[in-house]
């Protein structure tokens, strides 16, 4: 295994150093994210998932333990900007992360900060905008865009820094359903195109189902970790940490309780429909 992100016994608290009794938001997290993988981090509000995300590019520094990006300690001051280039971050509120008054200018913001020569910035902006399908709206003002489009601009802004990993902190929480699809499709496409490592912080089960690994946090600890099929079908364990399994899983379980054998639990609506259709076929044959 070749981890790009690694946390070792990571602890964190918002109470500062001198607080006598610290309430730990992160309480001993050991996690390694493999290069090129797509990891979804699930968790209830206050489970520490956003706090964890902010450790991956050195926005927060560990209280105890350590975080490594490509083997570099995030606490090392001299490499912090290189680290932030490698690990791009997309935040929840699309309005509060767009800095410039024009789409293309905003995409250029990262490379400008890195001191990339102008011709190269132009090339990167063109490429990043094309990758997220925003070329036509490049000279628009960001406040005229939809939520999904704004998030795509934010992703383009990260891409223009040529990152190796993208951490998305609930990027769809403030979007309508079509914007949500839009953003996730973009993320998945880019992952395939550039071989990016993707860490998606979310509380939508259907989004987590698209990942190839799901990590569930609760009270600052990793409580479940596995493939989506392992984690998302574990209804009881999810319920114990205040999460509901994806609705296709719950539907299939309800059917099962009523005596319909739909086979392996489905994760997506499509899968669920297939299982039900197959079961109806077999029922018809039996009659």
């Amino acid at each position: 295994m070749d981890p790009i992100l690694e946390t070792k016994e990571l602890t964190y608290s918002y109470d500062g150093d001198d607080a006598a009794e610290k309430r730990l938001v992160l309480n001993g997290i050991d996690l390694a994210v493999e290069r090129g993988s797509f990891v979804a981090v699930l968790g209830h509000n206050g489970s520490g998932k956003s706090t964890l995300a902010r450790h991956f590019n050195g926005l927060f520094l560990p209280l105890g333990g350590a975080v490594y990006v490509d083997g570099i300690d995030t606490a090392a001051e001299e490499t912090i900007y290189e680290l932030r280039r490698r690990v791009g971050m997309v935040f929840q509120n699309p309005d509060n992360q767009i800095i410039a008054s024009l789409v293309e200018e905003d995409v250029a913001f990262g490379p400008e900060n890195l001191g990339v020569p102008r011709e190269e910035i132009v090339r990167r902006v063109d490429e990043a905008l094309a990758s997220v399908g925003m070329t036509e709206l490049r000279s628009h003002a960001p406040h005229l865009l939809s939520g999904g489009q704004k998030q795509r601009v934010a992703i383009a802004g990260v891409l223009a820094m040529r990152p190796e990993c993208v951490v998305l902190d609930e990027p769809t929480a403030m979007l309508d359903p079509s914007g949500r699809e839009d953003v996730l499709d973009t993320v998945e496409r880019l992952r395939a195109e550039y071989g990016l490592t993707v860490v998606l912080i979310t509380h939508h089960m259907s989004e987590a189902a698209r990942a190839d690994r799901v990590v569930v946090l609760s009270e600052g600890r990793v409580c479940l970790d596995g493939t989506p099929r392992e984690v998302l079908t574990d209804v009881d364990a999810l319920r114990a940490v205040g999460l509901d399994a994806p609705s296709p899983v719950l539907l299939a379980l309800a059917l099962r309780r009523r005596g319909a054998d739909v086979g392996e639990l489905p994760l997506t609506e499509e899968e669920c429909a297939d299982r039900i259709a197959r079961w109806l076929e077999t029922e018809k044959e039996r009659v």
Binding site: N93, Q97, I99, L102, E112, G157
Partner: protein
């Protein structure tokens, strides 16, 4: 209510005025202001008016909008006119009643003051009407960059300005939203005397400020994530290039200013 703020708004276009380099336009505006304060004679004012009419006509900005920007300072204009008419001491008294006297000089002075104000407002709004705020910020940063040597935070101020500009529409939208929310719960922003109306804005301003601070915090985090570390070592995506027309415009404006000064000296 908040949609009709036009002062300081940009109208995209492709006219000569639009295409003049923002740095030059800034200098032109400074020259224009100097011109307005130098003018003293009808011929001088006529020259400035002609220049302004040319600029407005060229920019293709509907005159209606320009009148609208004047309407917002109408009270100020009227106030200036009235004060100057009544309180300028002059020799040729036309009318007198108790402590109020109207003299010929007073009227002339009032008219010239009003003209100056109108010229200044129209002239400076032509700058913001025809220059995108981003280019304007860039121009300010470029023109003031020599001050960096005196450790004056030119880049930081320009960055702050561009962020402020970026967030104006966002905050206006938010204000509208909060107002609707308050109205739906019975808040009244439109009736009552001035004091009451001002007071009714407090429940509007508090949530607006709270959210603005939260936005600022999140924006700072996002900027940090994208490796922002001040102006040092930063490259620019957009570069400003001056063309021949910029120098021609500057020359023309300088000549015009000289003309106004000459008219003043000769008292024409």
């Amino acid at each position: 209510m908040l949609k009709n703020i036009t002062l300081g708004q940009y109208f995209p276009g492709n006219s000569l005025i639009h295409r003049i380099d923002a740095r030059f336009k800034l200098i032109l505006t400074a020259l224009f202001i100097a011109m307005v304060f130098c003018a003293k004679t009808p011929a001088g004012y006529g020259l400035i008016a002609a220049f302004l009419i040319f600029v407005v006509a060229d920019s293709r900005i509907p005159p209606r909008l320009i009148l609208k920007s004047l309407r917002s300072i109408l009270i100020f204009i009227v106030f200036t006119a009235v004060l100057n008419v009544f309180f300028t001491k002059g020799e040729t008294v036309l009318f007198s009643w108790r402590f109020l006297t109207v003299s010929r000089e007073g009227i002339v002075f009032a008219v010239s003051m009003v003209l100056r104000i109108v010229f200044l407002i129209v002239g400076t709004s032509m700058l913001t009407y025809t220059t995108s705020p981003i280019l304007l910020t860039d121009a300010i940063e470029a023109l003031f960059s020599p001050l960096k040597k005196l450790r004056f935070p030119v880049h930081e101020l320009a960055m702050m300005m561009s962020i402020a500009l970026r967030f104006i529409p966002t905050l206006i939208e938010e204000t509208d939203k909060i107002m609707s929310a308050q109205k739906s719960r019975g808040a009244d922003f439109e009736s009552g005397n001035l004091f009451r109306r001002v007071k009714s804005f407090i429940p509007l301003l508090i949530p607006l400020f709270v959210s603005a601070f939260r936005r600022a915090d999140e924006l700072a985090t996002a900027m940090e994530s994208r490796c922002y570390r001040g102006g040092d070592g930063r490259t620019r995506y957009r570069v400003m290039r001056s063309a021949a027309r910029d120098w021609v415009a500057l020359g023309a404006a300088a000549a015009l200013t000289a003309g106004v000064v000459v008219l003043r000296i000769f008292g024409l």
